[in-house]
Symmetry: C2
Subunit: 385 residues, 2 copies
Amino acid sequence: MRDVCIIGIGQTPIGEEWELSLRQMASRAVRAAAADAGIEKPDALFVGNMMAARLSDQAHLGALIADYAGWRGIEAATVEAACASGGAAMMAAVRAVGSGEVDIAAVCGVEKMTEATSAEVVSGLATAADADYEVAHGVTFVGLNALIMQRYMHEYQIPHENFGIFSLNAHQNAVNNPNAMFRRAISAEVYNEAPMIAPPVNLYDSSPICDGSAAVILAPLELARRMPDIRPVRVLASASATDCLNLAERHDLLALEAARLSAQKAYARAGVGPQDIDLFEVHDAFSIMAALSLEAGGFAPRGQGTCFARDEGIGITGRLPISTMGGLKARGHPVGATGVYEIVDLATQLRGEAGANQVRDARIGMTQNIGGTGATVITHILATA
Amino acid sequence: MRDVCIIGIGQTPIGEEWELSLRQMASRAVRAAAADAGIEKPDALFVGNMMAARLSDQAHLGALIADYAGWRGIEAATVEAACASGGAAMMAAVRAVGSGEVDIAAVCGVEKMTEATSAEVVSGLATAADADYEVAHGVTFVGLNALIMQRYMHEYQIPHENFGIFSLNAHQNAVNNPNAMFRRAISAEVYNEAPMIAPPVNLYDSSPICDGSAAVILAPLELARRMPDIRPVRVLASASATDCLNLAERHDLLALEAARLSAQKAYARAGVGPQDIDLFEVHDAFSIMAALSLEAGGFAPRGQGTCFARDEGIGITGRLPISTMGGLKARGHPVGATGVYEIVDLATQLRGEAGANQVRDARIGMTQNIGGTGATVITHILATA
């Protein structure tokens, strides 16, 4: 497979978007990415989306967004892997360019959730879990994450307050990100006293319901090097692994096995290891997932994700900066778009454009996009060119 | 991109499936394809599905089906392009194997429609069209196809009865296909007197609401040639093109522009032209689509799709056999699975296993999978190895 790189990035600010429709948000993000790359029209578009068919009665987003972006006629499709849809779309695009069949590919993650009722969103999110063996019993998606967190706290004797560091870090980093939903820092006290959503998951352990769209433009590295004014970010690896949806059937509830497998594949393809990763955009949809990702990725021993965060540092100047632009928690989590926002945030860092949040000497970074409670995990490793 | 071929095929009989759930149907099809290929486990699974999130409250089918097939851990994702989802999943799999990152890939098309109410199915199918500019006005998906057919009949002065040949051919071919839904021939009289669904689309112009799952296994040609007992079918081309969803914004309502573009790309990649195609699995979800596909594919001049069918022959011994195992009309149209059924039918022909329906000396064949009313069209050209 030929070397692939990112030559353009774009995004809409995450929040409750009442002015733009789904297609308008998406075309704004892809047009911004295309302008950033200095290209007029890609050869193909890969859309990451999870819930538009349910929440907006609109499937078939590939052709729709291509048309609204002014690219009628190009190849286009949607890729779905629940909350990992954005990462899965990125992966399909990397393969398309890598295979040699496509030169310029656009990736667009998009989700519009706030126009729907809470009930519609809750049941929409639950389609990421096992409909027959989990959701049929009445559990929500937050409830499933609460079960994992409860087990983790019990198994490793970790108090709830230890998870606060993930939320505090994310909110701190979001302050300087103009595209983040919650641009204010929170204190440990605020975290500890937050209302419960599904015990032990509290308000600040959870990511918000929101709208947003992010996009990147990919090209073969060889081509990008001949393009003017492009600072290419290399895609060293794009890898995916799965597990069963149903938590009750997991071999090990706290192993996040798909994250481990996915990271291992990515490390092997990139020829690097955890020690080489300068920053890590984790899928902190819930605090527990940030801890489990650090462990599955080989950064922290099992049960020590929160201790690693406290002792080694996950802030901008820490050993392993995570959620550097606010993460899912504070930048926001427009579900199918999130995997692409992670890529955009990491590319921003590797281009040295992260402003006050810039991680110094960032050369290699990783993103992990988790579908469901860990049934699909997509890992990307990017590097400066 | 390295050469890719099909080394295994599998399918469930199409119909109203009351015994098997969505995941059971899908895992039955992929296990059959894997057994046919003589492999235990692929490296990746690509699922084509359009409506499970709405009709079965289940998204995230990649990981789910991988797990139920006994392949927990492998890479998996769902690809969606409305009614062209199956073809789009096939295309992603071809790229994955072609790129060199995946050796053995499984493709699974699956749709379960008959458990839902008619209203749920009608509104589910309508998500293939433009929600804001078409469906909001109350038009159904059948209604949109009726508008195209009406315009075609008016523009070219083609009487409705001329379309009967597509339905008669499909029903005739389904008689010998044990996996087809409607295994009985119909007469011109039955066609002409059928009740109207949405004038001028009558019952026999429309494909059925049904359940089904089809699967194929892909491998690099070089690897397949070293495998025992494999009769590989080569993938000469896999190509996609799009148009706007909204019929009112088409440059030319009767051109099926995405089909023309998609076929042109496929011909160029395969190094063949329409004259080289021995059989053509068309997307005859509605009779009008069969006529438009023949024209857009370069087989018949514009407005002469029905005349071509009558004069040149579309039966098993005709100039261009189409819908050779019954097509969408009579084999059935489980929406997101259809593109994969087309591939399975064509591979069956190219392997010389089509029994009474075998097209003699079939060496190169084409499939076309249409999303919506032509907004996404995926063309595959396959050949004997």
